[in-house]
């Protein structure tokens, strides 16, 4: 078959045109996917490579093994396992407490009418424009002062870090949550009130179960944000075994990046995996939340 007529045919046939367009887009997709997953593949390969330095690494390692992971978990100077547990502990506590504060406050904003309600809602938005990052100096000095009086709320303490994170609980997510609650008809509350239910009973028995989807999204975003936070933890935490994973990885990278690239890669991968799994498993819910204006740090 002569080539020209083949092309002619392509141009005329709608299905063939569509196939060509899909083929081109698939090729572009392949390039984009390479761009997006190459660094991840590279890190997986580094973590399995027995030579373990930045200079010698190849994409397909010779004699892959788990030596880097063994080294990672047994280093004395860099207690990776403690960092990991610290991060999970701090993120879980923060996510749950922060969600509770946000939800209860949003309930009050959605269901009660009181003086200053609208002003407060606006103020919450404006105040959060001042990112906690900018208040680093003040927060650092504050905890060094509080620590002189109450040692368990001073510098180098997980309690302090959780409290600072909770300072952001009255944030933009209140708007998201309130907006969601506003869509729940008030008839439900009113009929329960007639039955003699208290506000707290209405909130916990009626409203809360209906909020499940948005609760999950905000909980997860809280968790991810806290888990990934670096700078507050870096400033408030001082001792090696108290670091969170992000701080620990940064310090390890600063100290032994090139020589122990493989070990770093193993740590990076183990640190990233929980979050990646959460994201990929719940991507539809999270995307829904993001487009509604939920925030991730």
């Amino acid at each position: 078959m002569p080539e020209k007529s083949f092309l002619e045919k392509l141009r005329t046939s709608a299905t063939a045109q569509r196939r060509l367009s899909i083929a081109i887009r698939l090729i572009i997709a392949v390039f984009l996917i390479i761009f997006s997953i190459f660094p991840v593949l590279w890190v997986i390969s580094a973590s399995l490579s027995p030579t373990g330095t930045l200079a010698t690494q190849r994409l397909i390692p010779a004699n892959p093994g788990l030596d880097n992971y063994r080294t990672l978990l047994s280093m004395q100077q860099f207690p990776f396992w403690s960092w990991f547990l610290n991060s999970i502990k701090i993120s879980s506590i923060t996510a749950v407490l922060s969600l509770s504060i946000t939800t209860v406050a949003a309930y009050a904003f959605s269901r009660f009418r009181f003086r200053g309600r609208q002003t407060m809602l606006k103020a919450i938005l404006l105040i959060n424009v001042f990112p906690s990052l900018l208040a680093l100096v003040a927060i650092f000095l504050m905890f060094s002062q509080v620590g002189d009086v109450i040692p368990f709320l001073g510098l180098d303490n997980h309690n302090s870090l959780v409290l600072v994170y909770l300072g952001g609980a009255m944030g933009v997510n209140i708007w998201l949550m309130k907006g969601f609650m506003d869509t729940i008809p008030r008839d439900i509350d009113e009929s329960a009130q007639v039955e003699g239910a208290s506000d707290w009973q209405i909130f916990t028995r009626l409203i809360l179960p209906l909020l499940r989807p948005i609760l999950i999204v905000i909980l997860i975003l809280n968790y991810i944000t806290t888990y990934g936070d670096f700078v507050l933890a870096r400033i408030l935490l001082r001792s090696n075994e108290k670091y969170t994973l992000m701080v620990g990885l940064q310090i390890f990278a600063g100290a032994q990046f090139q020589q122990r690239w493989g070990v770093f890669a193993a740590g990076a991968l183990m640190g990233a995996l929980p979050i990646m799994i959460i994201y990929l498993a719940l991507q539809d819910q999270i995307v829904g939340g993001l487009t509604r204006g939920a925030v991730k740090g």
Partner: protein, 531 residues
Amino acid sequence: MTSTPAPPVFKRGNSIQLPALPRLIRFALLIALDVAVFWLLNRLASLGYYPLMAAVLIITLFVNFVLIRREAYPLRWMLIGLIMMGLFTIYPIIFTVWVAFTNYGEGHLITKKQAIDQILDLTYLPPSGKAYSWTAFRSDEGDYALWLIDAEGNAYLAKPDEPLSQPQPGEMGVGPLDARGIPESIEGYRRLNQIQAATDRNLKNIKFGEEGKTIQIRSPSEAAELLPLYVYDPDLDAMINQETGVVYKNLRGTFTSADGKTLRPGFIEFIQFDNFRDFFISPALRGPLLRLVTWNFAFAFFSLLLNFSLGLFIAILFNDPNFPLKKLIRSLLIIPYTVPALITILIWRGMLNPDIGVISRFLYSTIGWSPQWFTDPWWAKIAILLVNLWLSYPYFMLICSGALQSISEEIYAAAEVDGANPWQKFWRITLPLLLVAVGPLLIASFTFNFNNFNLIYLFNAGGPPMAGTPTPAGHTDILISYVYNLAFSGSRGVNYGFASAITIIIFFIVGTITLFQFRYTRMWEEVGENA
């Protein structure tokens, strides 16, 4: 609306008629809290932490108000959140504003009173005046004691950090006196002869006697009491050196003499708008700061442009419900977004390493050349934009594909009837409608990148450094990373005051952009909805 006329006493529910027990518990807890806060305030006051004290006091008064007054009932639901916001968001903001007008920083860390007290503790050895003759004793452990005899013939035993005593022979281990009235021995000590004493290196520097009344050796024959070196003159607000007569006047929180000599430590002092003036007109800072601010805006703008463009391109490419493997492709393409940013940035730092990173090695083996990603100012900027592209395009892809689906097919159909080509359809229909939907998120993204500390700091710590700047600054530094260096790196002395002033400038920039965003999205009006 739930506002009902005064309810009958027996009405159940709605917490009008509070059961007695929870109410009692509430008041008991409130009293316990107040007692604890009272103790805390006392401690904070004794340490001189007045700003923090004021914050704790105001917040506690607020808590009392909310828990006692009936009309504050709705606020009880958000009380913990408000306390946290007050302590960790609002107080730091106010504190930052206060610090911005002071010289708080290295050399100016304590209050004026503390600094004056420290300077007044300094002493000097007067060249003349009341003197003692002395004899030295030394123990095997290296402790010293002096036997002093004043002009009237009174004898004293002096040891470091102990008050002078006047023991008779037999007391405190003092042995029998010789002809000149000096004990031949003191228990635990050996008497040093004149040559031993003259050659002993430590002896001359030791201060004997209790603090405030110390005695030091002045010459081989004399020891004398030390006098305060400085006297503070409150009228002049100056320190006067008693030895030389030089006057040190208070200059921006440091006592400074006419010829520029300063006394340590300095102290915190209000310096009005000096920090802001330095930011805008200091000749030494102008060059570096101008470059820094330009790059800050350029970085935020180009990041947004690149990330949004790629995200939108991908979203349009696969905006087709029947596209094969759509779900799989999307999952693979959002992977960069799922990795915590810090990890991503460090991985890219490894991959872009100019000599041994995979990208450089690949470039060397194919085209024989590779950019200096960390040491060349331009390539460092490009590297940062590249890493940011990888970090954020999936976010824009996600929000754009959501928004694209909300644009109705009918508009495109109508455009086709009018003979619009795909290019026109994109510029005239898709892009304007999309911008309406995702505009606010784009502005938010701009402000986020404007303060994207993690990327700048973790990738290259703002480097490569600029040459010859009075405070450390790098070619890829943005304002917030510059602030961080000023406040925490300490390589050339921390300066909290200047750092806070820049923080406030950043706040105004970001605040203006955000207000614009609120206007744009009519978020204010939304408050009224359902009211």
